[in-house]
Symmetry: none
Subunit: 125 residues, 4 copies
Amino acid sequence: MISLNYRDSRPIYEQIRDELRKLVVSGAIAADEKLPSVRALAAQLAINPNTIQRAYNQLESEGYVYSVPGKGSFAAVMDDAVAARKKELLEQVGELLRELRSLGATAEELVAFTQAVTGKEERHD
Amino acid sequence: MISLNYRDSRPIYEQIRDELRKLVVSGAIAADEKLPSVRALAAQLAINPNTIQRAYNQLESEGYVYSVPGKGSFAAVMDDAVAARKKELLEQVGELLRELRSLGATAEELVAFTQAVTGKEERHD
Amino acid sequence: MISLNYRDSRPIYEQIRDELRKLVVSGAIAADEKLPSVRALAAQLAINPNTIQRAYNQLESEGYVYSVPGKGSFAAVMDDAVAARKKELLEQVGELLRELRSLGATAEELVAFTQAVTGKEERHD
Amino acid sequence: MISLNYRDSRPIYEQIRDELRKLVVSGAIAADEKLPSVRALAAQLAINPNTIQRAYNQLESEGYVYSVPGKGSFAAVMDDAVAARKKELLEQVGELLRELRSLGATAEELVAFTQAVTGKEERHD
DNA sequence: GTGGTCTAGACCACG
DNA sequence: GTGGTCTAGACCACA
């Protein structure tokens, strides 16, 4: 369900956080569905439970997850969270596109690229 | 000419490196034009010269700058470096677009966004 | 494991970088094997940890090593890196051979020299 | 007669020294032939005479040149100097070949390379 | 304990 | 004055 890359420059807890966020926000883990327990995930990935806990804490403070003490962690209802994440991603895309323009890339070129990438992708839902 | 953001998670030397790379690759600093000296830039930004040196070293090893000991650092002639940088940026854009698609963004929506961003930009020449 | 030569014109961090690169690329340090820690190597060689760090940073940016903060530095899997290094070395040999030819050395003489050097070497496997 | 490359990592005086040494040792400047005067060469290359002087001083201390105060600098008789230079170059080649062997290059491969490089070269005398 | 970043201050080679 | 190297010492995030 989750894979680690020790050569990634990102710390492990960020890799876990980012992968879980993707799963929740994309609906792969449905609203109110239970996430794997800290200890179970730690055992599966063969890492320290503290590292998993840190990822869960961040996801909770970001609003993607809520935890019920003694029960576990559950995917939050995604409505404005998805919208917020989309806005965040669009800002990043915008910044990159602006730099590309300043490097001489034409609007046509970039639009064509966007069409190619977004069109050929398979639907994930 | 360069601004620092101490709240940015990126280390200072990376911020400087990235900003200078933009200036060189976009032509704002022309080929063979002299960059500010290590000491001058360090004084202006009120940081340690070693930190500037580190940014300059990386830019040199990346090929964006060449330095002549005793004379200064100069912008390299950008040919394939611009192309390489564009490819790098496009890859990043592609990755973000794919995540946006998986969040439910439609191809039409993203293409329209690209048009809006790239079209409304002023010409830089 | 590594020896320094203070009379060498090359800076210390380059000597360390070059020796470690040899160890990694020759397989003396196997893929994913841990390199000595920055502090340990610094203590052993009686030099500043920053100098070691610099060598490690360059090796990482060259792709010969990957580092996991908090865990250590590890030898990268060498595939095309070895090929690239061989090409680099052959270019250097070619340049030297051309200068030798211009000094009057005959092709036969140089070929014989190559045979002597490459033949008398012990096998490393 | 001599060309400078400001992007070369070698300092200018080394570039001049190396090029002049090649000219002398290869016979392009015959024994006892006068080298260009310090001031003339400085003017031609548009650099500081001190830089030229340093190159000449090193060539003299290496024995490739002798200077007659008030007259100029002259190419020394090359006999053992050429032999010494050849020995130096062969040592460098040997070191590189050994590293290539440790990277898995076969003796046959390297001999073939030597033949190709030394054979296809045009005669320079 | 590990790698990573930064500072302060020094010395060197170069032009 | 310029870039380049090195030291000593400090702090941080990570596991």
